[in-house]
């Protein structure tokens, strides 16, 4: 393997990791506030479809991305209404969101299946940094959503661990009654966290469609929303570990893809078997995490998926 191939591989890894990182960070914030949103897959699909439809109709990629975020944030608000206000079951509501997102994206995306977008999110090389050896082409000739995802990691970390609202959000996921007593509004915190998380999932979908592949296909997220959920557990609900996990899985996706392209010994293995790799890797990672944290807790927020009822405050 020569240097050009290595650089190509690493740059592709960054692209493959970005949607996982975006969706995972959003989910991490929502779960830290105590809400489990299993609907990522549906939100990503809706975001991907919306971005393509709006971009193709208006010619504005940024408009498409903004629309994707707006639509998925509205779905996030609906999810929050069901789980936080009505206190419906988080798991069942999440599955319903997956179905709704799948249905909406198929229905409204139908006319755009297989259309190659004229306008996509163009790469934006960062002056000076783009000329660094290896790192330049790998990291600094990507599009703006990649930079945003990388910037979001320290920002989410700063927010969660170094600000008072961040502290309140983490506490809402651990002991909501204490947050309430301290004068914060648990319901508002959870709504905002869920809406943020849904918007990030929409952004992840938009990255896939207008930032990466340049087209829309039914079910194009192909399970990445579920992988992002597993990554949050892998990360023990910590943004920096999530960055590591997203890149590990991005690398796994690219290796599967590369193995198919390279041929040779890999041609003996069916593509269908190789495509199992990310899911088996996720399973293995979940197992290792669980085995390691046995008895010490794995960082799950104590009030995750537990509805908060003010009248039953203890």
């Amino acid at each position: 393997m020569n240097e050009a191939m290595l650089i190509g591989l690493l740059a592709a890894t960054v692209s493959a990791a970005t949607p996982l990182l975006l969706a995972g960070l959003g989910e991490l914030v929502a779960e830290r506030s105590g809400v489990l949103n299993l609907g990522l897959e549906g939100l990503m699909l809706t975001g991907a479809m919306t971005a393509v439809v709006v971009t193709a109709s208006t010619g504005s990629v940024l408009g498409g991305i903004a629309a994707a975020v707006a639509v998925t944030m509205a779905m996030g608000a609906a999810f929050a209404f069901l789980t936080v206000t009505i206190r419906a079951d988080h798991i069942v509501t999440g599955l319903a969101i997956v179905l709704v997102g799948d249905g909406l994206s198929q229905f409204f995306g139908k006319a755009f299946v297989g259309v190659n977008l004229q306008d996509r999110l163009a790469p934006l090389a960062i002056p000076v940094l783009r000329d660094l050896p290896v790192l330049g082409p790998v990291l600094f000739r990507q599009n703006v959503l990649v930079y945003f995802s990388l910037l979001a990691v320290p920002l989410v970390w700063l927010f969660l661990y170094r600000t008072r609202p961040g502290l309140a959000l983490r506490a809402a996921g651990e002991r909501p009654s204490a947050v309430d007593v301290a004068g914060w509004n648990v319901v508002r915190i959870r709504y905002l966290a869920v809406i943020f998380g849904a918007g990030m999932a929409g952004l992840a979908g938009a990255f896939l469609s207008v930032g990466y592949l340049g087209s829309w296909a039914n079910g194009m997220t192909a399970g990445q929303g579920w992988i992002a959920l597993a990554l949050v557990i892998f990360a023990a609900w910590h943004p920096v570990r999530l960055l590591f996990g997203a890149y590990l899985f991005g690398f796994a996706y690219i290796m599967v893809f590369q193995a198919q392209v390279l041929g040779g010994v890999f041609q003996l293995v069916s593509v269908y078997l190789m495509q199992m790799a990310p899911y088996l890797l996720a399973l293995l990672v979940l197992m290792l995490i669980a085995a390691r944290s046995r008895g010490r807790g794995d960082g799950t927020p104590a009030a995750l998926a537990v509805p908060y009822v003010r009248e039953e405050r203890t």
């Binding site: 069942v92 319903a96 709704v100 799948d102 229905f107 078997l273």
Partner: protein, 343 residues
């Protein structure tokens, strides 16, 4: 026993949800300039309006009933088996394995297929159960990951070694006639009778046996189950095995009844089953009712295709009905619980 007023409240909430879901779908139709009345009429006549339409709806309802029953076994014990989809696919594989590759005397073929299918479905649930009990691995995600693995595994077979060399599609060769479930009509097979029988057996199991009681306690409160001396790990594994074996029946029905060969099963039944079970309050007899309702919706999608309207409209309708039903039934069930019983 549920009080009559609670029944009325929940049924009312569900009917309201269906009505609102239809209104939501109509608004989408209006927005896209599709004639509303003709479209709804096409769904009705295609899924409900005739004996033939009803039979077609039941063809869809049967696998959803099996995955719904599988979900209610697990969910009432608060074990989150989201893997009905993969367990169903492995059930289809297990049945096809016997039908295509195990030489057996005629009458032994079907029983062996059903046992093999159920064993593979149970196996697919056994892994996550052991991981949960031994390591504390979250079963929501482990069962989900295995769904993808199962689907890719069957894809591998039907695109690769098991592909029928005589056909142009990624299908296995057709099953021999001894490997087909006995037909009751042109479209329906014995599975349409098996589903209610299993629902009744489950209702009896839940209601009248110590095992049913123990798993209900497990679902109500893990600490309570532990204080009562129940072996939580063992119960968890048993619940998952039963759930996986029942989900497998959905796959067996589709390959040995509806299709007569192994193929990439239409996706989603495993997840529909979870929603159906929740709508039914994890009551096996009500699962049958809700699965039939879901079958009507799925067949309605086919009817739209014939009427040349985008069938994914029905998905939006499904989604809207479920969202409204989640809100309505959550509120109705909370009202019908006595104070202090919790939400």
């Amino acid at each position: 026993m549920m009080r009559a007023s609670a029944w009325a409240l929940e049924s009312g909430a569900f009917v309201m949800a269906v009505a609102l879901g239809v209104v939501a779908a109509s608004m989408v139709l209006l927005a896209t300039g599709t004639p509303v009345y003709q479209t709804l009429a096409a769904i009705y006549s295609g899924a409900l309006g005739s004996a033939y339409a009803l039979q077609s709806s039941l063809v869809y309802a049967v696998p959803v009933a099996f995955t719904g029953l599988a979900a209610c076994v697990a969910f009432r014990a608060r074990i989150w088996n989201i893997g009905g989809e993969g367990q169903m696919v492995m059930g289809a594989f297990g049945a096809a394995l016997v039908a295509l590759h195990v030489p057996l005397p005629g009458p032994a073929v079907l029983p062996a297929m059903i046992l093999s299918g159920m064993a593979f479905g149970a196996l697919w649930a056994f892994g996550p159960a052991v991981l949960k009990v031994a390591f504390g691995v979250n079963e929501v995600l482990s069962t989900l990951m295995l769904n993808y693995v199962a689907i890719l595994f069957v894809d591998f077979l039907v695109f690769g070694p098991w592909r029928d060399p005589a056909g142009g599609w990624p299908y296995s060769p057709p099953f021999p006639s001894a490997a087909l479930l006995p037909a009751l009509s042109a479209d329906l097979n014995v599975a349409v009778v098996a589903a209610p029988v299993i629902a009744v057996l489950l209702a009896v199991l839940f209601r009248y046996t110590p095992w049913g009681y123990a798993t209900a306690v497990l679902g109500h409160s893990h600490p309570a189950a532990r204080y009562a001396g129940m072996r939580i790990g063992r119960l968890t594994v048993q619940v998952m095995l039963l759930s996986g074996a029942i989900a497998a029946l959905a796959g067996i029905d589709q390959v040995a009844g509806t299709a007569g060969l192994l193929y990439h099963l239409p996706p989603g039944y495993g997840y529909f089953g979870i929603l159906v079970s929740w709508l039914a309050g994890h009551n096996p007899l009500l699962v049958l009712v809700m699965a039939t309702f879901y079958g009507v919706l799925l067949q309605g999608g086919d009817a739209l295709q014939i009427a040349q309207v985008d069938p994914s409209l029905v998905r939006i309708m499904q989604g809207a009905i479920i969202i409204f039903a989640l809100a309505g039934l959550t509120l109705a069930r909370r009202r019908s619980l006595s104070p202090g019983a919790g939400a």
